[in-house]
């Protein structure tokens, strides 16, 4: 989610001029800070919860477009946020879920995207210092898109070595995939790898062909989906 991230699709932005958000985090300090930030950025914070237990109660009256969740929350302080995000996506398909975590944990990401990636996101809490990126990620998740933090992608690709799907790709294609997953544009990837944009396009086309991707997905999501294809493959082979 750097400055070179491909621009967010304008088609859903108009619908969400004032995006409604529910915050779920057991740290009051951080939750208050985040609420102030999002309010200042023009979003509507419809509620703040200290644990995932009361999410359903809020959803019954106010239907936010996105729920932002911490991972470690009461009662067990393990992965309540991941489970709650999946549950929200199952129960309220119109609502997106963005997990904001202190750590980039590959296992949590794999669990989160195990049943699909639509309307789900996983960002590090560190991203609160970049309002634009954060707000854009919220909009994307709200509109059914997917957001994966570059840190998380790096971690996942590091853990993914020697996996069957990865073996399908050449070393160069893998490099391109890693940069693509971090949100770089074709030009950005070319600059990084000293390749012409055409060569990059060719590599990306090869990656899309080799990986089992949803051909219906819009172009910007295909890039993230390429990465997530790995994650789901990971889950299947775990």
């Amino acid at each position: 989610m750097t400055g070179s991230h491909p621009p967010y699709d304008g088609e859903t932005a108009a619908d969400a001029s004032r995006l409604s958000v529910l915050l779920v985090d057991d740290s009051t300090l951080f939750r208050r800070g985040l609420a102030s930030l999002l309010t200042a950025a023009g979003l509507e914070v419809v509620g703040e919860l200290g644990s995932a237990d009361a999410v359903d109660a809020v959803m019954a009256t106010r239907r936010p477009q996105v729920v932002v969740l911490d991972v470690r929350m009461p009662p067990s302080h393990t992965d309540e946020g991941i489970k709650a995000a999946a549950a929200i996506r199952r129960t309220y398909p119109d609502t997106g879920a963005l997990v904001l975590s202190t750590y980039a944990e590959g296992a949590w990401a794999r669990d989160l995207f195990a049943e699909g990636s639509e309307g789900l996101g996983y960002l590090l809490k560190d991203r609160v210092d970049d309002v634009a990126t954060l707000v854009e990620a919220l909009h994307r998740v709200a509109s059914g898109g997917t957001v994966v933090d570059p840190e998380v992608v790096t971690r996942l690709l590091a853990e993914t070595s020697r996996r069957p799907l990865l073996d399908l790709l050449s070393e160069r294609e893998r490099d391109v995939l890693a940069l693509m997953a971090q949100g770089l544009s074709n030009v950005g990837i070319g600059n990084r790898l000293f390749l012409s944009p055409r060569t990059v396009e060719a590599h990306i086309a090869a990656i899309f062909t080799k990986l089992p991707l949803d051909t219906q997905a819009n172009s910007s999501n295909r890039r993230v989906l390429a990465v997530l294809a790995f994650l789901q493959d990971q889950v299947r082979h775990a």
Binding site: S27, F30, V131
Partner: protein, 589 residues
Amino acid sequence: MRSGSRWVLPVTVGLVALVAKILLSAPLLTSQAALVAITWLVTLSFAAVGLSLLATDVPSANGWACLLMACSTVPGDLNSTSYLSSGWTAVGFVLEPVYLPAGVALALRYPASRLSAPNRLLVWSLAAVTSPVRLVTVLTAGPLPDGYYRPVTAAAWWSPFLHDAVFVRAGRGAAALLLVGASVALVRRAALARGVSRESVIPLTVIGAVTALAAAVDQGIWAVNAFREVPADLVRDLSAALVPVALLGDLLRRRSAVATISQRVLRAARSGDLERTQAALQLALRDPQLRVLPPECLAEDGPPPADHPALTSASSGICEYTVRGDDGRVLARLWLDPRVADDEELVTAAVEATGTGLENARLTSDLRRRNVELRESRARIVAAGVEQRRQIERDLHDGAQQGFLAVSATLGRAQLVDPQQLGPLVDEARTGLSAALGELRRLARGIHPAALSQGGLLAAVPALCAPFAGRTTLVMAPAVGACAHEPAIETTAYFVVAEALTNAARYAPDASVAVHLDIVDGVLRIEVSDDGPGGAHLAPGGGLSGLADRVAALGGELGVDSRDASGTRLRAKLPLHNRAVPSHGSEPS
């Protein structure tokens, strides 16, 4: 006493008896070679058996009895026609029957060393009517120039009738009757013998009974002065010759018996199983009613229960042996039939093997138990370490990290406002940062207090007590500063005080607390006591229990004394390994 000097007397006695025997009976060799050879053999055997018995652990009484038997074969030779002209005949005549009471006593008690009261009376009576009566006979009859078998003549200076009737006939008659009694007692002993001592008792008592009966007949013949043709003396001498043979055989048998019993009992007792030990002892000592009781079964001097089978049997009770370990602790009690306990040597061997085996089992199980404790406490220490790290991560995650992230969010908000309006946001960020830093500092202090690193316990403990000032008295010996040489001790001591104070603050918020630290004899002693409601204890998994493990790992001990309503007193002792630490040192430099 274990040196050779204790052998000088018995060996001398044996040799003197043997040499005297050979020299004195030499004149008879031509006429009765076979008989003389047998008597030499008897003397030699008794001397050898006597010395062998003295070499064993059996009480020495029986060894000396055998040497006495060897000696008592000698006077008979003096009382022969070869020495008619000398006064030695009279000495021989008087001392000759010593072997009778000595032999009867030996046969009635072997292998034990004590006689029962009736048997003792019998033996002393026999002794009284033999040699003393013969002494009187000699004295009243004057010199006996032609041997003891000469009919009493008018040469007696006392009434010849009384001399003959009282001292010769009545004395011998009494001896004959007592010998009959002795043979009855020996047969009875053979019949009553039980357990492992049967094998020692039966051969000797049977031979002894035959010898005593033959001797009785012989004495009777002389008393009535008739039936001289009955060869009672030959039977007596031949069966008496078998006594040392029986003893020698028994002696050899006992060597292997002791080894077998010890081995068998030891093997069973090493299992630590008292029932198995009992079975092995019953088999080894052949006493089916033998009982092995656990040490806690009876008080030290408690009476045996009335229903023990040994009590209802013919004997006078049971013999109790206390089996003790090396440290004097009672490991078990043995109840034996006293008739089995007669065989002191074998029973002692069995009891000692039981003690060795049970001690061995106790040490082994102690070792195993300690091993388990050690393993468990080590596991607890490791688990506590892991839990501590988990807690630190959690504290970092929930505390400082969220604080810093909140500051991050505040700075994020700064991107959205006019540069002129940044003031309040910067203030907010600064407040958030200092709070998060404070949180970090608090956490770091919990991991390892900086005060401890810099000023040791002398600085860190007062700092610990500071929040409780007004209700806490701290007494700390300056020598405590020397703990700085042993960081593990120092840190553990610090956390013991910290945990105790935390507990006091939590459970006895109004109580006054006394903290005391000193070093005595190289041991750091910590005591934290309060006059609160009490009721604290070392709950498994609690903070104190974890500290107790750490203290134990350092070779110390931690205890909590906290009866309800009498306050809580926590005491810890931590031995300092660095012995250079003064026990009452001065202010550390």
